[in-house]
C-alpha cells in the first residue's frame, strides 16, 4: 500500500492538516442531522480524506466496508432508453460515484441514482435519525449545466432520504443554486510547513532518517499538493535510501515532457515545428493527461522563459483558448491553435527586437 493511503487519517480526530475544519465537522455531525455539503479546494488538499473521515464519524466503521460495483442504469429519455454504465463505490450507508465519467449523459445518472437510493433507503432500526443515505458525488464542477440543474431539483425532492456530499476543485463552476443549498467547506491547500510536518510524521513512523531540509525541498516541489508530496517522498525512498541532501526529487514525467515542448516552441516557430509539437501533445493526451492541465502547464513553462512584455498577451490567448476548449470537443484543435498563436506572437516579437 502506498504511503498516501497508508497514512491517510481514518477519523476526524486524526486529521493533521485541517484539524479545525475536522473538529467543526465532527460537531456538526454529532449534534444533529447534517446538511448537504460541498467541499471544494485544489487537488491534494485533503477533501476526500475529510469526507471519508466524516462518513466514518456518521456511520461508524461500517462505512469502510465498501465494495466496487459496475452498475448499468437504464434510463428512459423520451423515445428511447439509454444504458449508462458507471462504477460505484458502495457501503451500507453511502454511495460514491463520479457522474462526469458518463460524459454528456451525466444528467440522467444523477437523477437516476438519487431516485434509486430513495427507493431502497435503509430501514430506520433504532427509531431515530440515520434513516438516510449519503451520496458522494465527485467532480461536481465537471458536470454539465443540465446535470447541475437536475441535481438541484432532485436535491430538494429527495432531501428527506438522502444527503449529498459534493466534492470539486473549483466552486465557481458549480451553479449558484447548488452552492446555496449546501454548506460550503473550503479546503485550502496545505502550507509548506504543514506538508513538512506530515512528511516528518511519516518519516518517523517508517523509521527513516530525514536529513534536515530534505522534507522542505519535497514540500517546495510539490506545489502545495500534499498527495504529491507524499508520493514523491515515497519515490525518493525507493530510489535511494539513506537520503542525501543533494538527492534529486524525481519530477513527474509529463511535466518534463511539457517543458520539453515549451523549449521546442521557443526554439523555432514554423508550421513544421507546430506539427512536431502536435505529435508530442498527442503523446500526452494518449496518457490521459487532461487537456486543461496540459495547457496550464504549457503556459506556465512558456511564461517562465518569456519577456515580461509578452506575458499579458500570452495569458490572454491562453485563457481564450482554454475557454474555447471547454466549448469544443477535440482539445487538440484548441491547444494547437494556442501554440500557433504563441509562435506567431513570439516570432513577430523576435523580429521586432532583433531584426
Amino acid at each position: 500500500m502506498l504511503w498516501v493511503d497508508k497514512y491517510r487519517p481514518k477519523t476526524l480526530d486524526q486529521v493533521m492538516v485541517h484539524d479545525l475544519i475536522a473538529q467543526n465537522l465532527k460537531k456538526l455531525v454529532t449534534e444533529q442531522d447534517c446538511p448537504h455539503l460541498l467541499f471544494y479546494g485544489p487537488p491534494g488538499s485533503g477533501k476526500k480524506t475529510l469526507i471519508m473521515a466524516l462518513l466514518r464519524q456518521m456511520f461508524g466503521p461500517g462505512a469502510e466496508k465498501v465494495k466496487v460495483e459496475n452498475r448499468t442504469w437504464k434510463v428512459d429519455a423520451g423515445s428511447r432508453s439509454i444504458d449508462i454504465e458507471l462504477t460505484t463505490l458502495q457501503s451500507a450507508n453511502h454511495t460514491e460515484i463520479s457522474p462526469s465519467d458518463a460524459g454528456f449523459q451525466d444528467r440522467y445518472v444523477v437523477q437516476e441514482i438519487i431516485k434509486d437510493m430513495a427507493k431502497n433507503r435503509p430501514i430506520d432500526t433504532k427509531g431515530k435519525k440515520g434513516g438516510f443515505k449519503v451520496l458522494v458525488l465527485n467532480d461536481v464542477d465537471k458536470l454539465s449545466r443540465e446535470a447541475q440543474h437536475s441535481l438541484r431539483r432532485t436535491m430538494e425532492k429527495y432531501s428527506a432520504y438522502c444527503r449529498l456530499i459534493l466534492c470539486c476543485n473549483s466552486s465557481s463552476r458549480v451553479t449558484e443554486a447548488i452552492r446555496s443549498r449546501c454548506l460550503n467547506v473550503r479546503i485550502n491547500a496545505p502550507s509548506e510547513e504543514q506538508i513538512v510536518d506530515v512528511l516528518e510524521f511519516i518519516g518517523k513512523k517508517e523509521a527513516l532518517q530525514l536529513p534536515s531540509g530534505f522534507a522542505a525541498r519535497i514540500a517546495e516541489k510539490s506545489n502545495r499538493n500534499l498527495r504529491r508530496a507524499i508520493l514523491s517522498f515515497e519515490t525518493c525512498r525507493v530510489q535511494q535510501y539513506p537520503f542525501t541532501n543533494k538527492q534529486a526529487i524525481p519530477p513527474m514525467d509529463w511535466e518534463e515532457y511539457i517543458s520539453e515542448i515549451a523549449s521546442d516552441i521557443m526554439k523555432e516557430q514554423s508550421p513544421k515545428r507546430l506539427f512536431q509539437v502536435r505529435g508530442k501533445l498527442y503523446e500526452l493526451l494518449i496518457n490521459c493527461i487532461p487537456p486543461e492541465i496540459i495547457l496550464k502547464r504549457l503556459v506556465y513553462e512558456l511564461l517562465r522563459k518569456l519577456d515580461d512584455e509578452l506575458k499579458h498577451e500570452v495569458c490572454h490567448w491562453a485563457s481564450y483558448y482554454e475557454h474555447r476548449m471547454r466549448l469544443g470537443q477535440k482539445a487538440i484543435f484548441h491547444i494547437e491553435a494556442f501554440v500557433a498563436k504563441f509562435m506567431s506572437i513570439y516570432k513577430s516579437f523576435l523580429i521586432a527586437t532583433f531584426g
Partner: protein
Amino acid sequence: MSKRNSVVLLSSDDEDGSINRSNHGYKTKPKSKKSTSSRGLKKPRVSTSETRFSNLHQINLLDEDFNEVFTGSKVSADTQRSSTLEQWVAKYKPCSLEELAVHKKKVEEVKTWFEERLKASKGIYRNNVLVISGQAGVGKSAAIHVIASHLGATVCGWNTPTPVIWQEHLYNSGAGAQYTSKLGEFENFVEKIRKYGIIPTSFTGESKPSVILLIDDLPMTNGKAAFGRLKDCLHLLVYSTQIPTAILFTDYGNTDSADYNARCLEELQLSLESSGACKVAFNPITTNSIKKTLFRICQMEHCDVSADHVDHIAKASGGDIRHAITSLQFFCLKPNQVHSLSLFTDSPGALKDECNKPVRSNNGYYLHYGRDETLSLFHALGKFLHNKRETRSSIKYDQDDFLIQERFSRLPLKMDVPEKILCQSHAQPGLVTGFLHENVLDFLDDEAIDDAWTLSSYLGDADILLANLRGTLPSDNDAGSVLQSAAASVAVRGVLFGNSQPLSSRWHTIRRPQLWHVEKASLYKKNEMLRLKFPACKCLSSYHMSVMATEYMPIYKLLGNRAYGVYNEPHEEVLKNMDMEDVDFDQMSLDEQVRDSDDDIEDW
C-alpha cells in the same frame, strides 16, 4: 364512367400513334381493349401522359403496360416488337471496330490478345483470362462483342439464372427442389467450363468455331466465406481454362470505396492478376469520342441537335457513353414537349432564351442530362489543401462593392464553391475537419506561422460548432445537420482563407487523422486506469481520473513493481498480479483492435 372515357381516349390516341408505327399498331389495338380491367389502376399515369407527352411517347407507355400485363400471362413474343422505339443504346450498338468509342489502343490491345489466343493451338498460353475493368458504360462488353464478331468468334456467356428467393424455395421445397445459391451455380458453371470446355451444340457441320467466354456479372457475395469461395473458384478458372475468357469488372472508382462490395471487387481483381490473368483497364470515354458517336446517331435519326447541346451532354455524362446516348434520346424527345408547351405559353423568342440560359449559367439546370458528379473524399481534400487560385484577380470591383483590406483579400479560387465540393464528396463534417487538421500544416509555407494560427483557429471554430451537437437527441436532426454543414464550411473556408500563400503544388500523401488513434488509445488507457483506480486506493475512496493520470501513473512507473513487492502484504500482491494479468489480456485485445482499425484505414 370515367374509366371508360379514358379508354376511349386511349384507343383513339393509339390509332394516331399507329400511323407512326406502321404495321405494329393494329396488332396493339385489340389488346388494349382486352387489358382494360387491369389498366384501370394505371389510369392516372396514362391520362396525364395524354396531355403532357407526345403520341410517340405515350405508345411507349402503352407498350410497357402491355408487357407488364402479358408477360405475366406468357405472351412474351410481343416484347421485342417496339422496334421504332427501341432504346438507342441498343439500336446503335457498335457493329464494327471503327464505331467503337473506346480508345483505339485499348481495343487493339484486347484484339491482339484474343487473336493470339484464338490462333494458337491449345496449351501454348498459360493464362487464358483477361480482366477488363472500367467504369460503368465505357463499352467493356460492347468491345468484347465487336472484337469477337471481327474475329469471327462466338461469345458465350454465363446465362445468369433467375435467383430463387429463399421464401420461394421454402414454399417449393415440398416438391423436392434443391436450393442452390447463385454463387453455387456459378461454381458449377466454372467447374464445367474447366473440365469440358464449351461444347458447341448448334454448329455441327462446319469446323469448330472459335469461342470466347465472357463472364459479365459475377455473383454477389456476402461475407467472407462466400467471397473466399468466389475467389478460389475464379482462381481455378484462371489456372485451368482453355478457352479465352474475359471477366468484366465494373469499377466504382469515383465513389468512396468504403462500400464493402466495391472493396471486394478490387480485392478480387488483384487476386486474379496475381494468379496470372492479364488486365486491361478501360478509361472513361473521352468527351470527343462521345461527341463523335452522338453526332453520328443524330445524323442517322435525323435529329437536329445543336453542337452546344451535344457538347454538354457529352461533358455531363462523365465518360459513360451509354448514359450519353440515353440522354441524347431523351433530349431528342424533349423538343416535342417543349413545343407543345410553347403553344400555350411562350413565344419562340422566349423559348430560345430559355434554351440558351443553361449554357450560360452552367450549373444545376442541365442535371437532366448529367450524372451527379461525385468526388472521392481524397479528391475533395486535395482540392482544399492545394488551394489552387488564379494568379491574379480578374474581377473588377464595382463601385458598390466595398473593398477588402489587403490582408483579408484573396485571389479567386480555381474551383467550384467549397460547399459544392463538400456536397459532392458526401463526406461527414467531422471527418473532413479531422483530415484537414491532420494534413494542412504540410501545405503551409515554412515562414507562415501566422497563417497556421488563422487556420487552426478556424478549425477550432469548426470543432466548437460540431461539439454543439453533443447531447442533442438524434430526433432534432435538422438543426444538427445545419450545424454540421456550417462546421464543415467553416473548416474548409478557414483552410482556404488561412493559407494565404499557397505553395506551388507538389506531391503530398494525405494521412489519416492521427487523432482517431489518439482517441482510441487514450480511451484504452483510461479504462486501464479505471481498473487500477480502485485497487490503487484500497482506502475506501476513489481518485479522479486526472489525479490518476498526473500523479499516480507516473509514480507507478517510477516505482515499478517495487511498489507492490516491497510494501504489500502477500495476499494483496496476488490480487495485484491478477489485476495485471487482466490488464495484459486487455492490452492484447486492444492491439488487435488497433490493427483492425489500421486495416480499415488503409483501405480508405
